[in-house]
Amino acid sequence: MTTVGRLIGRIRMKSSPERLLAVLFMIVLAYVVFVPLLVMLKETVLVHPMERFQIPGAMPGDFTWHHWKTVLTSPTLVKPLMNSLIIAVSLGLLSVLVGGILAWLVVRTDMPFKKAISNLAMIPYIMPSWTMTLAWITIFKNQRIGGTQGIFQYLTGIEPPNWLAYGMLPIIICLTLHYFPFGFMLIGRALQNIDSQLEESAELLGASRWQNMRKIIFPLVLPTIFSTFLLTFSRGLGTFGAPSFLGGPVRLYVLSTLLHSNLVGQRTGMAYIIALIMIAFGVLVLYMDSKVLASRRSFVTISGKSGYRGVTSLGKLSKPIGIVVLALMALVVIVPVVVLAIDSVMLLPGRYELSNFSLHYWIGPASSTIGLGTNVAGVLRNPQILEAFGNSLKLSLATALICGTAGMLIGYAVVRLRGTRTAYLLNNLSFVPYLIPSIAFGSIFLALFGVPRGPIPGLYGTFTLLVLACSVKYLPYAARSGIGAMMQIGPELEEAGEMAGAGWLQRLRKIVFPLQKGPFFSGLLLPFISAMRELSLVVLLVAPGTQLATTITIRYTERGWTAYANAVMILIVAVVLILEYISRRLLGTDLAKGIGG
């Protein structure tokens, strides 16, 4: 045997396609997650051009501790940090509370309308996170900050106080209304997965329903509750829309909005310190969650053999509770959409009368005399907005395809290498983007691809950058669903092909792909919807040529032209909901399966 032949033999023994795939993905993930961290660290100790005058005698590019000193010695960051933490903790607690109660009612009681309620409960999560926020402003805005009255004031004549119109309270409420489905879904699934035999045994030993609940069910669900808290906490920390719209008018800053204003103001050093703080929180959450998960694995068992599930009877209250819950869910879903719709057809803001009805902001021409005199055409004939909308669709499609494919391949590699360190590493690495707060993730990509680096050209302002950022950010969903799907086909199916002499590509084409067609297409849905409604992640990355439907609403809101912003929101919500409906009908997808891992 020749030396070359021997070498090839050696390589063949050690390497397999799944291993190559895994290594490839690990390199890419490490590059897009860890390299930027170093870049950001470096940027925090450099003088930036705009800061020459704040740091006496320094030239751009010089080394400086200025940013870190400022952060550590002055209180500029303390207040926003506290605000962020208050919001995140409240959001975590409320999501667990609202979602948990709802989950318990649906899974463990005889409340009627379960199906309708659980379908409705997922919709707030599908809608953009700040739909609720814009609706809130439309209803409760006051005139102290300028502008027109809201629906509440129009109807009652009472001007809402600042604490109700803006700031902490509405931010927390709006975010909770958006994220509680998370708690509902995660806790609901945990409740469903509890082996009913565990309860039956307790019951046979004489435990009452309530004792069963307190001593068996609650302890078993506790890790999930904690995990839900952590996940929503991290979302609350990274969210940008709600604090930006509701905090701005009363000068309430949180980490994400501070990060944004620092970056816009070209105070890059400060901005990246904030991003690093947020990432540190993300890593902490990941660490704590993995601890919780490790403990959970040890005692939650899924058997599902017995159809019986402990259902608590609500007695006479069952029907009234069902009706109230159903009504509340409908309210949460319908009110914001209706409010936004009404606002978008009012010619002059603040006057909610039939005589004021107009489709001007939808289909009117650019005019400086009609209504607000914006000199901007209606949403449906405004080339700028339509282009942004087209960009959003393109972005969503590209992201979904990339995510779907990458997710399947990661799933393939992880499942085939199950039990190895490589699989463990890849699995965890693919989950990291999930826990880095969105806006910090955006700034990572800005740091990484803002300027040319090695063979990779500067991508700032390009569409590619948006696709890249979204693809990596949503990869965790895709990887989760890919792993789940691949688990369904045992390795023997492929090994049988290998025995028959089929090469790796042949096996993928003839065996794996045909079997994964369904999961693949349904796996596209979540990344698509996520990209369609994304704001926090892309707000730092868009440029005039790459405006998205979501980011353009900010520009209109900032100018006080809420009718346009609200009309665009309605369009986004419509696209997302229609898509969800179609894919549920056609592919039988269930979004609830993909969320939260």
């Binding site: 032949g5 021997r6 033999g9 023997e492 199916l493 049988a496 028959a500 002499g501």
Partner: protein
Amino acid sequence: MSKIVLKNLAKHFGAVKAVDNLTLEIPAGSFTTLLGPSGCGKTTTLRMIAGLETPTDGEIWIGDQCVFSRREGRFVPAGDRGLGLVFQSYALWPHLTVFENIAFGLKIAKVKKAEVQKRVEETAEVLQIGELLKRYPNELSGGQQQRVAIARVLVMRPQVLLLDEPLSNLDAKLRMDMRAELKRLHSEMGSTVVYVTHDQLEALTLSTHVAIMDRGTLQQWSPSMVVYNQPANVFTADFIGNPRINLVQGVFKKEQERFVFAAPGLELPLDVSEDLVRLVGRPVTLGLRAEDFTLSTTPAEGFLAAEVESVLPAGSEWFVRVRLGELALMTSTTYDPQVDSGGTLWIQVKPEKMKFFDEDEKLIIGIGSTYGRKEVA
């Protein structure tokens, strides 16, 4: 028809030695079973032969071809080894019809369409699944799926047929039928069969040769009936046979020119050759199968009185658990012992059936008249 040679084969998963230093020559045309409890390395061995698992060390030869050698850096991919593997779960492709499943390998090998048609139909005929060709796997019963899985492999006319616990998913009745079927196929095809199972009865009924493994190492390699009558060590003795063999710990003693095996509750005079004198005073283990006893309902010369603990009728035979002092023994008889729990039976050990094991080495000690001095490799 090819022989298979494994030389110092090893597979380590980290610190775990799934298979360690396994050397085995499987004769061409044999029906060889790899037998052992779960986790003993039998399936890993099969998968290494198949080429689905890369050994950590050693060599594998199929016929005259070396298909794996760590030292030479040689690795022939699974598809090029001329083997067929039937999986425990059958691994039928659910998106393909029975015909397409069977034809898959032929199509990969770019066999002409007419030829594919002919060979698939022939093979389906042999396995009596000719009417099922248009169906999908989920429309078949377990037994039918099993036949399709075998057809898919046989259609490639493999030199060696590997079967990984193929019958474990079938119910007891079907399993018996399929055993007969596999034996028929083996004699018709004449190819070498390597069969993995944890079911000792299956191993004994099907195979010509048995390799018993435990914790990654080979315990015994012999023709199938030999493993039952001449277990190489305590593990093999304990693993083969149902009910389990009685293992009695005791010592060798010499009393008044007579050799005696003495255990609490049991003392057996022995007739052994002189060179076993070295073992006097040493602890040994005596292995006795349930049928190695003669039972009597009345007292007789050389019989020991035993208290009956339970009687288990099994149709063609009766199992009787008796107590001799501290010793509990499982015995069997082919006639009704006509006794209940708490009663008394008289038992005698058949001297030619005694199997002695050295306490440390676990190797059989040549002893007793029939098996006297026979060392089993």
